[in-house]
């Protein structure tokens, strides 16, 4: 214990090294986005900021360059999709967990296991039938098509279920005596109590939605519906012209901003949602 100060040194060095490894590529992207095409194309990546930042970002955001649409459009698509997925997942999981815990109905256990089993069926596994359904419902190239198939969530349902199990039963009974029916209890007590859990899920699911690649790739055909992740990929693989790497870097930086914002804004609630046991 007396050696605490010294004993902390090595872990800190290791941590600093780790941060460096993770942060360096991000730094490189940031730097790359401030130079012009020629500087990057000559093969020697500079380590200090250049002077073309404003121009690069303006072009990336407004010009329909390599991806066919401006980054602003793609960011909007991504944001709408990720928000719809995160909020949709939370709404659906809250309701299904509520049903699982607080209502006795035939095949309740079956329903629980059915939800549980879908953990083993991510989009990649059920891609063909899901695509067929989306196509038949005319959902291709729509926001609904981007978000709906990803909304059902076993993880979130299970997380809410675990949380509801810790809510004391006496609270339900007190509500019943206070004249609150099932809907009132849900809205007045359960939802406010789930606030931190919802925040944690929102962060996780927003990132999940934002980072989707395969499904948006399949379900969108029009350039103006593509998400920023798809657009980014498209930019790096064009064949008939030179890849403007400074624009790609700028797009990458821009694509990173909304998730970073969400994480920072909800950090406190997020941590509390994951560790909180106090009731």
């Amino acid at each position: 214990m007396e050696n605490r100060r010294f004993g902390n040194l090595i872990p800190h060095l290791v941590l600093c090294f780790g941060v460096g490894v993770v942060a360096f590529p991000v730094y490189l992207a940031l730097i790359g986005s401030t130079h012009d095409a020629a500087t990057i194309a000559n093969g020697r990546m500079p380590l200090w900021p250049g002077s073309h930042a404003l121009e690069t970002y303006r072009r990336a955001l407004t010009e329909s360059g390599m991806a066919g649409v401006p980054v602003a459009t793609m960011l909007l698509n991504s944001t709408i999709t990720a928000l719809a997925i995160a909020l949709g997942k939370i709404a659906i999981s809250l309701l299904s967990a509520y049903a699982l815990i607080y209502f006795r109905f035939p095949f309740r256990q079956t329903a629980f296991w059915a939800i549980f089993v879908t953990l083993m069926l991510p989009v990649e596994v059920r891609i063909y039938p899901t695509y067929k359904v989306a196509a038949d419902l005319n959902l291709l190239d729509t926001y609904a098509g981007l978000a709906l198939p990803l909304i059902a969530s076993a993880t979130a349902t299970l997380l809410f279920r675990q949380f509801f199990l810790t809510v004391p039963n006496e609270l339900v009974e007190a509500s019943r005596i206070d004249g609150a029916g099932p809907v009132r209890f849900f809205l007045d007590t359960l939802v406010p109590l789930s606030r931190t859990t919802m925040a944690a899920l929102f962060v996780i699911q927003f990132l999940y939605g934002w980072n989707q690649y395969l499904w948006p790739l399949l379900v969108t055909t029009r350039d103006d519906m593509q998400t920023v992740v798809i657009g980014l990929r498209k930019m790096t693989s064009i064949t008939d012209q030179l890849t403007e790497w400074q624009i790609v870097m700028a797009t990458a930086v821009l694509a990173m901003l909304p998730p970073v914002f969400v994480v920072f804004a909800m950090q406190k609630l997020f941590v509390r949602g994951l560790v909180e046991t106090e009731k």
Binding site: E170, L171, E173, A174, R176, I177, D178, A180, R184, E278
Partner: protein, 353 residues
């Protein structure tokens, strides 16, 4: 205001467990009725059936003149205080008190008046803006009671409300609950496993065991004239001593001593069980032979533990140096303090006392 009546109340759980096996009880208007018994005796189940939180297997629950078996808890005109208080953690004290009234569509000014009134009665006026987590155990307890009071119900139900408090606070809240109930005059059913709480608070004490009522009466009736051996040993601390005895002409014989007691209807030679409270035994020049194995000092009194023949015995004597551990003494029974029970059924025998 209204009384409460239970008639042949039964509860059988889905698994076939019989938690309550025919409980009939009348609680007069304004009475403070305490259900006491060991855990698993069905007392909480009875309370929860009155509240409407458990379904009734058979029998009837009547509040005032209305049978409420099928009525929703919210419409039974009852209010309940839970063991863990069950305050809404995300609501301020004010909203905790007002919630039930709001759900009933009580007009705002009326809610305001009632909440302020309850807060004043319970000394919570300065805490209305706090959250439950910012309150101490005793204050939370008060908020839970406030939530019951604002509703102005016909019946209060308490489910072991003091068991989460420390000993000192418990004594204080005991008095407070009793005072509050008297001033409001609301019929109350109070469940506890603590026999001191039961003795001190009840107008009407109900001792339960194994899903049945063993005895109903005032605390003094139950203490002085326990109807069964079970009640005799459950109520009172330290518990009543039970000794094997034999009926002889003019009394009963315990070991080698004969104690004069009326034994109407008992044939000489019959085996009985004799119950003697520890405080009804005193040192005497002759009587029951008793070896003091060890002594518990309680300050005002001392408890002598030891054996009398084959049975364990506890004697309560005034403080003083004598007798010491290891002493061989003789004990006399205070006149009229002997209770006789049937060794088979545990029922009280005869009319002694």
């Amino acid at each position: 205001m209204a009384g409460l009546a239970l008639e042949q109340l039964r509860k059988t759980y889905a698994g076939g467990v019989e938690a309550v096996r025919g409980v009939s009880l009348d609680v007069p208007d304004g009475a403070f009725c305490v259900l006491v018994g060991p855990s698993g005796c069905g007392k909480s189940t009875v309370l929860r059936m009155i509240a409407g939180l458990e379904t009734v297997t058979s029998g009837a629950i009547t509040i005032g003149s209305r049978t409420v078996n099928e009525v929703e808890p919210a419409d039974r005109d009852i209010a309940m205080v839970f063991q863990n208080y069950a305050l809404y953690p995300h609501m301020r004290v004010y909203d905790n008190l007002a919630y039930g009234l709001r759900n009933r569509g009580t007009p705002r000014p009326e809610i305001e008046t009632r909440v302020r009134e309850a807060a004043r009665m319970l000394g919570l006026e300065t805490m209305l803006d706090r959250y439950p987590r910012q309150l101490s155990g005793g204050q939370r307890q008060r908020v839970a009671m406030g939530r019951a009071i604002v509703r102005k119900p016909q019946v209060f139900l308490f489910d072991e409300p003091l068991s989460n408090l420390d000993a000192k606070l418990r004594v204080q809240m005991r008095v407070e609950i009793r005072r509050l109930q008297r001033s409001l005059g609301v019929t109350t059913v109070y469940v506890t496993h603590d026999q001191v709480e039961a003795m001190t608070m009840a107008d009407r004490l109900v001792v339960m065991n194994g899903g049945r009522i063993e005895q109903v009466g005032t605390p003094i009736e139950i203490y002085r004239r326990p109807a069964t051996r079970y009640v005799a040993t459950f109520m009172g601390s330290p518990p009543m001593n039970i000794l094997p005895a034999e009926v002889v002409p003019g009394g009963v014989r315990i070991e080698d001593a004969t104690i004069p007691v009326a034994t109407p209807g008992l044939a000489p030679g019959a085996a009985v069980e004799a119950g003697i409270r520890p405080e009804d035994l005193r040192l005497a020049p002759e009587g029951l032979a008793f070896g003091v194995a060890f002594v518990e000092e309680l300050g005002a009194t001392r408890l002598l533990h030891g054996r009398l023949g084959g049975a364990e015995l506890v004697v309560q004597v005034p403080a003083g140096p004598e007798p010491a551990e290891g002493a061989a003494i003789r004990l006399a029974v205070a006149p009229g303090a002997l209770h006789l029970f049937d060794p088979g059924t545990g029922q009280r025998l005869g009319m002694p006392g």
